[in-house]
Structure formats: C-alpha cells, structure tokens
C-alpha cells in the first residue's frame, strides 16, 4: 500500500521530452514493412485478373478490354493478398496510407500507349511467338504424323 506511486514516472515525464510524435509538423516515420496503399507497376501488369479474384474486399477491378487496372482505396484493407498473388510481382504495398478525403474515389491505371520502338519490339515478339507456335504446331503435326505412321 502507498499513495503517489506513479509520481516518480510523472516527474520523469515532466522533465523529459514528451514521447509525442509531432505529426503533422514532422512527417510520419515508416518501417521497411509498413503497409499503406497498393501500387501497380502497370507496365508490368498483364491484366490477368488474379489479384481481383484474390482480393477479399473486391477492391480491385481489372478491365482487360479497356486495359485498365482500378483500385478503390476506400475498400482496400491492406491484406496484401493481391501483392502475394500477382504472378508478375508488379503489385507492391507502398508506405503511406491513402489520404482521407471528403469524397471517395477510385484510382485507375491504364496500360500506357507503347512507343514506336516498343511497338516494334512487341510486334517482333508476337511475330516470333507466332512463328514459334507455328513451328511447334508443325512439329507436333509431324510427330503425330509419325505416330500415325508408326501405328500403321
């Protein structure tokens, strides 16, 4: 029993600098893992829609035809399911929460228009792919043909 048992601590507090973080005068401090908002490196995104499927709150909407990736920051619960699920690892959980606002909004990333070079490269890639496919098909057919032959 006794009284004033907290007084020592109180006096210590009185003569020490307060522990208060002076936000917003001083910017907030984040750790390396701090969760804030989800950012999509849209260039890498292939609009596969896995993140949309994995998101438990339906915060992400992927519109393949329109080439957009949309997130509703007012629905995202920072669970990181999308980040972990993304096959391209193009989603990251950035520091810094979505700032409060007087109205709710969504954030949309559109796949950027490709530059001429990229266009060419893409075309080249597609062409190469088509060729590869064609080759493979041919090879398969050839194989099949062989097998048929073998059967016969």
């Amino acid at each position: 029993m006794g009284s004033f048992m907290l007084t020592k601590m109180s006096f210590r507090n009185l003569f020490k600098k307060p522990v208060t973080k002076m936000y917003p005068v001083e910017p907030p401090v984040y750790t390396s893992r701090s969760k804030g908002h989800v950012v999509n490196d849209i260039k890498e995104c292939i609009l596969c829609g896995i993140c949309e499927k994995r998101c438990p709150t339906g915060a992400i909407v992927v519109d393949k035809p329109a080439e957009t990736w949309t997130i509703n920051p007012f629905a995202c619960i920072q669970c990181m399911f999308c980040v972990r699920a993304c096959p391209k690892s193009c989603l990251t959980m950035e520091h810094g929460y979505t700032p409060p606002s007087t109205s709710m909004y969504t954030h949309t990333d559109t796949k950027p228009e490709l530059t001429a070079e990229e266009q060419a490269e893409k075309l080249a890639r597609e062409k190469e792919k088509a060729e590869r496919l064609a080759a493979a098909k041919a090879a398969k057919q050839a194989q099949a043909g062989e097998a048929d032959n073998g059967k016969e």
Binding site: M1, G2, L6, T31, R33, S34, K35, P56, I77, Q78
Partner: protein, 362 residues
C-alpha cells in the same frame, strides 16, 4: 418509495469502448438490477464462409476482433490445418507464438489502460498506452501493420522475422520491464487503485466453475483454466508453463492476473526466440478441405478460451465455420457481479471481465 432510478447505460457511453446496452435499475447508487443487451456490432461474418474461400477467410477472421486479431487468424488457420491434416514448420509455429504473446501484451496493456480510465485515473491510462505503443511498434516493424497485420495464413505465416530483429524484440521488451514494473506496482499497491478494485465484483471459485468462466476472469477466481496448457503449436515446446492464478476473485485479482501475465508473455517470447529453429515459414497448401471433414480447436486469447469449429465440403468454400469467444463464456459472470454493485462500479465490473463484444457478436 415506489420509484426507481432507471438509466439507459449505453450503447453510446464514453466509458464503454464498445457498444453494449445495460438497463440499469439503481437505488441511490446501488445497482439492483442490470439487464445487458448486445447486438449493436453483429455483422454475421460466419456466414461469409460461403462467399470467401478458405484461404481468403483468414482475412475475415483477423477482423473478428482488432485486438486479438492475430489470435483469431491463428486459431482459424490452425483449425483448417487440423482439418486438412497439415503439420506446419516449427519456425512458423514459433513465430505465431511470438506474435500471439505480443498481442497478449498489447491487449493487456490496453485493458489496464481502459481499466485505469474506468476508475478515473487518466494518467495511468496514458502511461499504459504509452508503453503499449512499443508493442505496436514491434508489430509495424515486423509485419507492417499496427493492429491488424495479416501475418498468419493457412499453412504458416506470411513473413519471417530475421534473427536480429527477434533479438531486437526481446531487447525492447526487456527495456519495457522497468517502466512496466512501476505501472504494475501502481495497479497492485496504490491505495487509491486498491480502494476502487479490492472487493468489487467478487466471484468465488465455485461460481467461476459453474458459470463456465474462461481466461483471466476464471484464473482470478483460482480456476486453472488456460488452453495454452494443451500445448498446441509452439506452446508444446515451452519448458514449463504455469498459468497465473489468484484466489481473491475480485476486481483487484483480475487486474493482478492480467498484469502479471504480461511478464509471463515476455518470458514466453524470450524463450521462443532463444529456441527458434531455422526452417521454412510456411508450407504450400494443396487441395481443399475434404467433404464431410470437420475440426475443432481452441486457442487461449488474452481474454480466455476461443473455440473454433470448421467443416469442409470438398470445395474451396467451407460449409460451416463457428466461433465461441471468451466473452460468451464470461457474460454470465458479468451479469452476476453487476447485481448489487455501486453505479460507480458498473463500468469497472463490466471492464474487469474484459468484454469483447466485437468477437462475441461477430
């Protein structure tokens, strides 16, 4: 004197962190009747299993309650792991224990603060919450979140803590000890605190037993009641585990049990850190919970036993998921101790059972 004082206590009431409603019938300041009612936070989340697959659902369970958030995700994950026969790696088990015990420290500090506020000791409240920020800092550093941090999923944990950081956690906790000691002394021995806590809301061991109390509420009445004794997950590897008990059965005893459990948790964390093996932190989950399989599990949350039941049906959606939370056990005890107490003690009595309305109502 025909008339009685009848007060609507809650759901909005500054002393209640969560909405509860109590019809209080008071004479002078003596409570002669107290009829509680809840339901203001009921969301119906158990039914969500039909809409969220069993892997996603861990995010829902984590939000059963923002205080024992980790505990619920762990309880759920372990239930599913039992259901699917998964044995998760030891490191994941140990990490779960560490986070879970950290949660207990943060929960108890939070509760101690609220209790202090309940008896009008603002400074003490502030100091408890000031210390608690250390634990939240650990959470943010290790998982990125302060209160809800999605560190657990079925099959293990989502992120590792490097060994250096583990040492750091122990160091932070050790650093807290001396200041916590002062708080503990204030709670247990300061005359003005004792004056408010001693003797209020007494429940005998028999009462505690017949009312099926759980957690610190039960332990404060001398009941050995702690799921951690079952040694699930990493708890099985503890060298020794003795629940903190008190025989007094009053508000002060409940305060004491929780306050001392903070040390216990610190010790458990230190032990886990010293023993933690270097294994993977999760294992891939394949397949679905099988049709017709069911599992039950229980976890010792800061407030007591939380009970889980899950039933699979062969799809990615569970067909049933149920929780029974510590407060559901304890609410009978609360109504009992409210009878005949002083109005000034109503809030305290409600607080000393550390009610968790959010998880109770789900």
């Amino acid at each position: 004197m025909g008339k009685k004082t009848i007060i609507p206590f809650g759901p909005q009431h500054p002393v209640l962190p969560e909405p509860v409603h109590v019809d209080l019938v008071v004479e002078d300041e003596k409570v002669i009747e107290a009829i509680p009612q809840i339901g203001f936070i009921h969301r119906g989340l158990e039914k969500l299993v039909q809409k969220k697959d069993f892997m996603q659902f861990v995010a829902v369970t984590e939000r059963i309650c923002g205080i024992c958030a980790f505990g619920h995700s762990m309880g759920y994950s372990e239930t599913i792991e039992i259901l699917m026969g998964l044995e998760i790696p030891k490191r994941a088990q140990y990490l779960r224990v560490i986070w879970h015990e950290l949660s207990r420290i943060h929960s108890h500090l939070l509760w101690l603060g609220l209790l202090a506020d309940g008896f009008g000791y603002e400074n003490l409240f502030m100091q408890c919450w000031r210390l608690r920020e250390n634990v939240l800092g650990i959470f943010e550093k290790t998982t990125g979140g302060r209160v809800i941090f999605s560190a657990c999923n079925v099959g293990g944990v989502t992120q590792d803590i490097e060994d250096g950081d583990l040492k750091g956690i122990v160091a932070i906790l050790d650093g807290m000890r001396s200041e916590y000691e002062e708080l503990l002394k204030t709670f247990l021995y300061d005359s003005s605190v004792k004056n408010r806590l001693s003797g209020i809301g007494y429940l005998s061991k028999q009462d505690a037993e017949s009312l099926c109390l759980a957690g610190p509420f039960a332990r404060a009445s001398g009941l050995v009641e702690d799921c951690r004794l079952d040694g699930y997950g990493g708890y099985g590897d503890l060298a020794a585990f003795e629940p903190v008990l008190s025989e007094d059965g009053d508000g002060h005893a409940r305060c004491e049990v929780r306050a001392r459990e903070v040390y216990q948790s610190m010790d458990i964390i230190a032990e886990m850190v010293s023993k933690i093996p270097d294994t993977p932190i999760s294992l891939p989950v394949k397949g679905m919970p099988g049709a017709g399989t069911a599992a039950v599990h229980h976890v010792e949350q800061p407030r007591g036993e939380s009970f889980y039941y899950a039933k699979g049906n062969g799809t990615k959606f569970l067909s049933r998921f149920r929780i029974r939370t510590p407060t559901s056990h304890n609410i009978g005890g609360m109504t009992k101790i409210l009878q005949g107490c002083d109005l000034a003690d109503v809030a305290l009595n409600i607080l000393t059972i550390d009610p968790c309305i959010s998880c109770t109502e789900r």
